[in-house]
Amino acid sequence: MSDTKIARRGSLQLINVPKVLHRGALYVAEARIRVMLKWKWSIAGEAILNPMFYLLSIGIGIGKVVNSHQASGIDGVSYLAFLAPALLASACIIGAVNEVMHPTLEGFKWNKNFYAMYATPISGKQIADGVLLSGLVRALFGTLMYYGALLIFGGVSGWHSLWLIPATIFAAASFAALMLGLCAAIENSDLLLNIVGRLLIMPLFLFSGTFYSLQSMPKFLQFIGWLSPLWHATEVGRWISYGHHISTQGLIAHFLYMGIMYLVGVHYARHFYLKRLSK
C-alpha cells in the first residue's frame, strides 16, 4: 500500500443518492451481465447449437416419423410447426430459470457477493429485481437465437410469428420470478436443487403438452400441465404461430395465470431477499 496523493471529494459530494435509489436494479443487472460476458462464447455457442441439435433430431427426425403416420399433421400443422413454439418456450424458460437460480445460490452462499452489494446503497429489493432483469436479458438473447433457428428450419414463418418473442419472455419472466423467490426462501441449497430439479422442473416440463397435445392425457396429468407456465406459454405460442384454437376466455386465463405468477414471484423474491440479507 504505497503513496499516491488522493484528491478526495468525499461521498457526500460524490454520490447522487436519489439517482442510485432509482437505478439500483439496473446496476445489479449490469454487474450480472458483466459476469455473463466472461462466458460470452460458451453462452453464444449454447444458444446456437442447442436449437440446431433439437431441431435436427426431434423436429425433423421424429417429425418425419410422426408426419408419415399422421398425414394431416398434428393440430392441423406439421409436427415441426406444432413443436416450434413449445421448444422456444422451454428453452427460454429454462435459460431464465438457470440465470436466476445460479446467481442466487452464488450470491447468498458460494461467494456471498450479495452481502457485498447490500453494503452499498443498493436495496435488497433492487438486488432481487436486478438478478431477474439480467436473467431475462440472457433469456431474450437465447430466444432470439432460437427464433432464428426456427425460421431457418421452417418451424415458424411470417411477421406475426415475431409476437412469439415477447410472449415467450413474458412466460419466462413469470416462472423465473417464482424460482427467484423459491431460491431465496430455501436456504439449504442441496434441498433446493433436489426440489427444483426432481419435483418441479421435470414434471412441469414433461406434462406441458410439448411433444403431444395435453388433451390426449388423463385428466389428473393434465392438471400438472395447467400449473406449468410452459404449458400456458406453449398454448399461447401455438395460437400466435399458427392459429391454434383458444377461446378468448382461455387466452385471458393464460395471461392472467402467468401475470399472477409473475407478481407473486416478484413479491416473494423481494421479501426473501431482504429477509436473508438483513439477518
Binding site: M1, T4, R8, G10, L12, L14, R34, P121, I122
Partner: protein, 335 residues
C-alpha cells in the same frame, strides 16, 4: 517490544491529531453515530445487550473485545444491514431501518469475511462495486488506478480474485470500500490473517485516511491495533460495554504505569501468589506467569528477588489494553 509500539503510536498521534483535518462537509467533532440502549437478540441469545455510544466526525473509534463480544453484530447494525431488536441508533442523523440505502451511500464497509466476487478480476471487482454507488465510468476508471496502487495490486489487476492470496484479498476488500470515498470507513477485524509487515502498512494507510477527514470505525481483538489506531474505544465483552475512553485514558484508569511479568514455573506461581500480592497494587495469576502491577516495576522486581523468590524469567513493560481487559473481565483478550 510492546512498550516501543505503544510509544510509537503515541508519538504518531500527537503529530497527526492536533492539526484537525479539514473535512469536505460538516464540522469536526459533531456526532455522526449515536446509539442508545442498542440491543440485538438472535432467538434466545443476546449478542448485544443494550449499549450506548457515540462516534464523532473525524475520529477513529474502536470496538475492542474477544471473539463473541458482539463487535461484528454492532458493526452490521451501524452498516444498516442488520435489524436491531430494540434501542435507538442514528447514523448521519438517519435511522438505518428506515433510510438504509441513504446511509450506506456514505459508508465504506470492510466485513470480517472477505466477500469479493470470485468470478471477476481484481479490476472488475473495484469497477462493479463503484457502479453500485452510481459512480460514473470515468470516475471509477481513474479511481481504480489510485486504489490498485494503494493496495499494491497493480500487477494483479487482470487476475481473477480466486487466484489471490489471503493478504491480497484483504487489501482488495479494503480498497473496494474506498472506491466511493466514504465519510465513514468501517473495518471489522481489518488485519486478522495479515502478516506483521502488511499490518503495519495498513495501519499507516488508515492514519492517512484519517488525516483526510475520514471517520474510522474499527473492531479488533488485538490490543496493539486498538492502541495504534483508535482515538477512543469501547471495551466490549458478552454484548456489554465494560469501559470507554482513549487508550491512554483506559490504561490510566484501569491499570498502573508498568507491569512486571514473572515466571516461577507452573506450580510455584500459585505458591508465591499471596506473598506477591502484598508487594504491589494488584496481581493477576495466569496459567504460565504472574503479572504484578505497579508504577515502579524495577524496584518491585528488586524487592521480589530480595525476598528470596527468584523468577526463571522476568520482564518489565508498560501497561497495555490487554491489562485493562484483564482487569475488567478477569480474562485475556486472545485465548
Amino acid at each position: 517490544m510492546m512498550s516501543t509500539l505503544w510509544r510509537m503510536s503515541a508519538m504518531e498521534k500527537s503529530e497527526s491529531s492536533p492539526a484537525s483535518p479539514a473535512s469536505p462537509a460538516g464540522t469536526i467533532g459533531e456526532p455522526l453515530i449515536i446509539a442508545k440502549g442498542l440491543r440485538k437478540e438472535y432467538g434466545e441469545f443476546t449478542a448485544v445487550d443494550g449499549i450506548d455510544f457515540h462516534v464523532n466526525r473525524g475520529e477513529s473509534f474502536g470496538f475492542l473485545g474477544p471473539n463473541g463480544a458482539g463487535k461484528s453484530t454492532t458493526m452490521r447494525i451501524i452498516a444498516a444491514t442488520l435489524t436491531r431488536t430494540s434501542g435507538e441508533i442514528t447514523i448521519l442523523g438517519k435511522d438505518p431501518e428506515k433510510r438504509g440505502p441513504e446511509i450506506r451511500a456514505h459508508l465504506g464497509v470492510v466485513p470480517q469475511q472477505d466477500n469479493l466476487d470470485s468470478s471477476l478480476t481484481v479490476e472488475d471487482n473495484l469497477y462493479v462495486y463503484g457502479r453500485y454507488f452510481g459512480l460514473t465510468k470515468k470516475f471509477i476508471r481513474a479511481k481504480i488506478e489510485e486504489l490498485l496502487t494503494f493496495a499494491q495490486l497493480e500487477e494483479k489487476r487482470g487476475v481473477k480474485v480466486e487466484a489471490l492470496s489471503g493478504g491480497m484479498k484483504r487489501r482488495l476488500t479494503i480498497a473496494r470500500a474506498l472506491v466511493s470515498e466514504p465519510e465513514i470507513l468501517m473495518l471489522d477485524e481489518p488485519t486478522t490473517g495479515l502478516d506483521p509487515q502488511a499490518r503495519h502498512i495498513l495501519w499507516d494507510r488508515l492514519f492517512r485516511l484519517k488525516e483526510q477527514g475520514v471517520t474510522l470505525l474499527i473492531t479488533t481483538h488485538y490490543m496493539d491495533e486498538a492502541e495504534q489506531l483508535c482515538d477512543r474505544l469501547i471495551v466490549m465483552d458478552k454484548g456489554r460495554i465494560m469501559a470507554e475512553d482513549s487508550p491512554a485514558g483506559l490504561i490510566k484508569t484501569y491499570s498502573t504505569k508498568e507491569v512486571l511479568e514473572v515466571r516461577f514455573g507452573a506450580d510455584r506461581n500459585d505458591l508465591y501468589a499471596e506473598k506477591l500480592r502484598s508487594m504491589c497494587d494488584r496481581i493477576e495469576v495466569l496459567p504460565d506467569r504472574v503479572l504484578m502491577y505497579s508504577d515502579d516495576c524495577e524496584t518491585l522486581l528488586h524487592n521480589v528477588v530480595s525476598q528470596g523468590m527468584q523468577p526463571t524469567t522476568s520482564l518489565v513493560r508498560r501497561s497495555s489494553l490487554e491489562d485493562v481487559f484483564l482487569r475488567l473481565t478477569g480474562r485475556t483478550l486472545v485465548e
